[in-house]
Symmetry: C2
């Protein structure tokens, strides 16, 4: 299981500072939607400039104009870009085509997507499908149960991720469950009193090794 | 009926140039999602700086983190911000609260939203609900028929807009139909050989007067 660490709601300078610290200590560094919305795709280059070991995911949450947004995101340095499962099939298809053509990855955000809609968007085998609990919702999700339930309904999806308030205990349980390829963690790492210790702790729990030795163990 | 003119897929410098030309000649100037994604919310200020008569809509297409995105957008100068109807009810609610608190407007983009979902998000009386045909879809919409159909299904929504490939003929028919508050036009104006003539022609058709005398006629 990979750890994706999301950076959100900070200045671009602070985001670059955090990304430089996280580089190589988490599998994927996420430029959160708040950074995309505040600073734009052109700021991807700034983050790309300080990331040499981890992958860079841009949480674009594209929902229309798929080709334009995906081409821009990859041009400025993204390895993975998100598209909403709520988008039209045609949007998902064009995002997938752009990603596949240049060997990059599309992540489909399933925020608020019904099972009926999911059934219609199952044919992107190289895409990562992300179970996502809205940050604006007041209730909590049971991550392991959500994944188990989803896997039973859609066993054909073999690249899965999960996001939304995941803490260390949930991440550990998800690693044991072994159905999810990527676990996405935000403030539990980036707002921890020591970010370095927090990311290290997550990596140890989910991978069984010290992220300070990540490059050696990869 | 108001005319909203959308600026998309140009450099920020060009967008400011177009906005300055359109100011006062269209009711609403839209900073398109492509500009938000490329340059970020901070660029709203640049457009705001050249717009003195028209309203400024930021097509944020917010789908989560509603309070953060709406507060940022309004802070930097938006009069109207878009949220996706596909977002969770909680996201829509918080965007509405932020908008109402400071007397600004929320526009709900109904792109790919089912009737079942629409039924659950009818309780935002001051919001503008936008029928939106995805730019990535290969088929065309019949704007007048879409509005008529929608109005029959949801007569309680009295602030309506429509977007997606609207041309002069469709805009004229929509004005005659008299159900829509805002018609949204993009490339048919901004990519016309003469943008000034094009915006003038749309305003003449839908308002019955010359947009060069807009301020006098308002």
């Amino acid at each position: 299981m990979k750890l994706q660490t999301a950076i959100d709601r900070v200045s671009l300078t602070e985001a670059c500072h955090l990304a430089a610290q996280l580089d190589g200590k988490t599998d994927i560094i996420e430029m959160g939607t708040s950074l995309v919305k505040d600073y734009g795709n052109l700021a991807i280059e700034k983050l790309r400039g300080v990331i040499h070991h981890s992958e860079l995911l841009v949480d674009s949450k594209t929902i229309d104009e798929g080709a334009y947004e995906f081409n821009q995101g990859f041009k400025f340095g993204a390895d993975i870009i998100t598209v909403m499962g709520a988008a039209s099939y045609d949007t998902l298809q064009v995002c997938y085509e752009v990603s596949q053509q240049i060997n990059k990855t599309m992540m489909i955000d399933l925020l608020e997507v019904s099972d009926e809609k999911i059934k219609k968007i199952l044919d992107f085998p190289q895409a990562i499908y992300t179970l996502h609990h809205s940050i604006d919702k007041k209730d909590q999700q049971d991550a392991v149960a959500s994944v188990s339930d989803f896997h039973q309904k859609f066993p054909q999806i073999n690249r899965l991720a999960i996001a939304g308030g995941i803490d260390l205990k949930q991440a550990t349980a998800l690693a044991q469950q072994n159905l999810v390829e990527v676990v996405i963690v935000g403030s539990k790492i980036t707002k921890a009193s020591s970010m370095n210790e927090a990311v290290n702790e997550f990596m140890k729990e989910i991978k069984g090794y010290d992220s300070n030795n990540y490059e050696r163990n990869k």
